[in-house]
Symmetry: C2
């Protein structure tokens, strides 16, 4: 299969970019949105694309990220079921959205933003809330990136993922180490080493594949959370 190598080193099927998705048959574009499915690694939209749509995750995981000109990557957020992403100022997207794993989303046209809010106040409130909580998360993440140690970053990340993915202390990470690293401002080696050290310290347990996490000492992790 023909593939494209992105700046982050991952290869995605060349034929499966946004164009392919856009060419899918359209349904009504009201507040119920249009269903779309993306495969693991697929691009949902890219930095610079016309921001004519925003999205709500139905299932799966999406990452939104920015790149520096030399390929360094920062993942500003992972979006799980129920999350809204792709809302932006101006006419084009300022970051890239990709499917971390197979993902199902609802796409909403954003041509008439305020009129949509006007026509459906409840949906408008939901959007407003989405934006504000996104801003909230961004602020918290800035504290993490600017002021926390590697250990604290990982602890915060694991607790956050646990809270969003499951009620239990056992869950499966949908993303690989490179994604975690680029989200936390670390390298994959530091992520791996820190997780290993946490296993040694009895804070967590780690399954063979490295994706399944068990929070063994929530209290200690919380203490590292800041």
């Amino acid at each position: 299969m023909q593939t494209v190598t992105t700046a982050s080193g991952t290869r995605i099927p060349a034929a499966l970019a946004l164009k392919g998705a856009v060419s899918q048959p359209r349904r009504a574009v009201g507040p119920q949105g249009q269903r779309r499915v993306f495969a693991r690694g697929e691009e949902i939209f890219a930095e610079g694309d016309a921001a004519d749509c925003f999205f709500k995750v139905v299932s799966g995981t999406v990452r939104t990220c920015k790149l520096l000109n030399d390929g360094r990557r920062q993942i500003d957020a992972f979006h799980l079921a129920g999350d809204i992403f792709g809302l932006e100022s101006g006419g084009e997207h300022h970051f890239t959205a990709e499917a971390v794993e197979e993902v199902e989303v609802l796409a909403f046209r954003r041509g008439q933003f305020t009129s949509l809010v006007h026509d459906d106040p409840e949906f408008g409130d939901q959007l407003m809330e989405a934006m504000l909580s996104s801003l909230d998360r961004a602020h918290d993440h800035m504290v993490l990136l600017g002021r926390k140690t590697a250990q604290e970053k990982i602890a915060t990340f694991l607790l956050d993922m646990a809270a969003r993915l499951a009620r239990t202390d056992r869950f499966e990470l949908p993303m690989q180490r490179a994604d975690i690293a680029d989200h936390l401002g670390l390298t994959i080696e530091t992520v791996s080493r820190t997780l290993t050290q946490m296993v040694r310290d009895g804070l967590i347990k780690l399954a063979a594949t490295g994706r399944t996490i068990v929070l063994a000492d929530r209290h200690a992790l919380q203490a590292l959370n800041g």
Copy 2:
């Protein structure tokens, strides 16, 4: 004078907190807002305060920041004339806002957020735009915090401040080194050293007080901007 030492080590007059400002005479609270003035170092609102107001800067500089429990601080943004800050989800503020220098703001009640947008669509658009551009800035800043070197952080910061403060290559920084450090995820020593090195390299010039900056080589700075 009785002072209070904050976690970041700065001392502010104890008697001049939010209460003092609130007790000022009220004017009408419509879209024109209520004028308030804060002195250098004064707190405009604190993390945990009821978020019944948001603000627009008329003149001066405001910083919004978060603290970790051991006092480490992250300044997520500086707000200059025209900027809106304090918009938040939920009933209370999730960060602290303080005057970096003497500042004049307009305070807006946010009780009925959507109804306000409903009644005055233009003001609503302005708010929406403020939120979205704030989100935009936050995303850019996460790239800076997570993936840029000290030199790149400073270069980006100086170019940004220049663009917002002046049209020219000469401007005066309204904040001290500690604020810059806590904004960029560095220490004051590293900020100082990096600026000194930039002077040696001919990228900038620095006045005696350290507050006046001249961009001597915009091109080179831009190259460091990512």
